[in-house]
Amino acid sequence: MIDFQFLLDYYNNLPSLIKLVWGLVGLLIIVIIDFLLYLKYLRSHLRDEEILSKKLFADYETNLINFLYAGNNEIKVSNEQQKIIDKMVFCVEDKFKRGIFISVLSKLKNEISGEMAIDINNLFLKTGLINYSLKKLNSRKWDEIASGIKELTQFEITNVYDDVSKLENHEKQEVRNEVQLYYVNLFQFKGLEFLNNLKSPISEWNQIQLLEILQKFDDQEITDISPWLKSENDSVVLFALKLAKIYNQFQSIDILLDLVSHKTKEIRVKSIEVLSYFQVKEAKSIIKSNFSERSIEEQISFFKMLLDVADSDDENFILENTNHHNFELKLIAFTLLKKLNSKKLQSIIQASQNIENEKIFNYLEVN
């Protein structure tokens, strides 16, 4: 008590500034102690949650497997299956448990096909998980919406097309990507009809994903891609060009010939590449007519095309470009010349004093 009185007197005699500093120190100590207690609570809470999550995961896994093997061919849902459904309907009311159950279903759905995969889809419907996914579509958070569409895709819910299609032109690309994956995964080539009205761009990554999904299907009969090649949306045209090449759309060659004069450079380059793949000789005169005005990418792309379709009529044009400022194009031009008229190439080699050309000639000698 005496010591305490001494400290109190000492504090009262201190200057105000020091008193303030001591006050702040005290406050800081209280804050740090609170913070440490909170961290301790948070750590034990997270650990408990992790333990519970593992326990529930194992429990739901067993329930799912029991559900899949409790099926009876004579009736649609056996008594044992109904008991599991009833239990899960109750569980999925809790957001935490619902998340775990969906992850169990997803984990197996990705790995198996056939009747069991259909049974998993049915369980998604019967436990009412579909309603939670649909509710997510109206969320204000874009990641919630994307996750809702992803669930509907994974469990193959085709009858909510109208709800999903409302989000086709959503401001967030991630949501649009999920909508597009929903269409193509569930409606195959027919699902590509969204391209008719698409205002926003399709990301390059999503284009790759869509093409990969399409290649999985047994029915490879593609719908008419002409409207997409004529689209005002550049990304749709670029995607349609990929489809034209993969699915050998020879019937679209006339539109492809128009696209070499498209306002967007990337489309012009890609359409030359597709025409090159189809070896369309008619493209030569169109591109040659304004060759010098075209970008270097288009010029190189065209010369690569000539590697497959050049004939003696192209010799003068190729010869003119052996002096091109671009090294890659010049190399292709000399390669073409070697192929079409090796004597002419030999006479150029003998007369040449250009050091840069020497490298090309040396390369052509051994290749």
Binding site: T62, Y69, E111, S113, E212, K216
Partner: protein, 122 residues
């Protein structure tokens, strides 16, 4: 005396392992489950199984290394079926070169797997 045919299943997806365990035990096989390649090698060495089912992509030791260990180190001809995901075609070819007998692309039907197992160990 235990006459059940033994199968080692190397698969890191616990739900799929559980599903196959239920199914294959029902068909009369004895299952040993490994959640990674390292555990799979231990189980193979301990139990000398009649068949090995292995995923290609697994933690620690891949399915390819498991096949290589079985064929080159243990020098046994136990039939091996590998599971592969889409886009792992090259891995599947490597698995066949190393000595795998069959493969199934994921997602696969458990019924089809049972048919393939019965063909390899009648």
């Amino acid at each position: 005396m235990n006459n059940l045919k033994k199968i080692v299943l190397a698969e890191d997806n616990s739900t799929l392992s559980l599903l196959l365990k239920f199914r294959l035990e029902k068909e009369g096989y004895q299952l040993f489950i490994a959640e990674d390649g390292k555990k799979a090698i231990e189980l193979i060495e301990e139990n000398n199984p009649d068949l090995i089912l292995s995923d290609i992509m697994m933690p620690f030791i891949s399915g390819l290394e498991v096949i290589s260990h079985v064929r080159n180190k243990l020098k046994v001809t136990t039939p091996i079926i590998v599971f592969s995901a889409a886009g792992q075609e090259e891995m599947v070819l490597k698995a066949f070169n190393l000595g795998a007998n069959d493969f199934m692309g994921k997602p696969f039907s458990p019924n089809e797997l049972v048919i393939r197992i019965k063909r390899l160990i009648p």
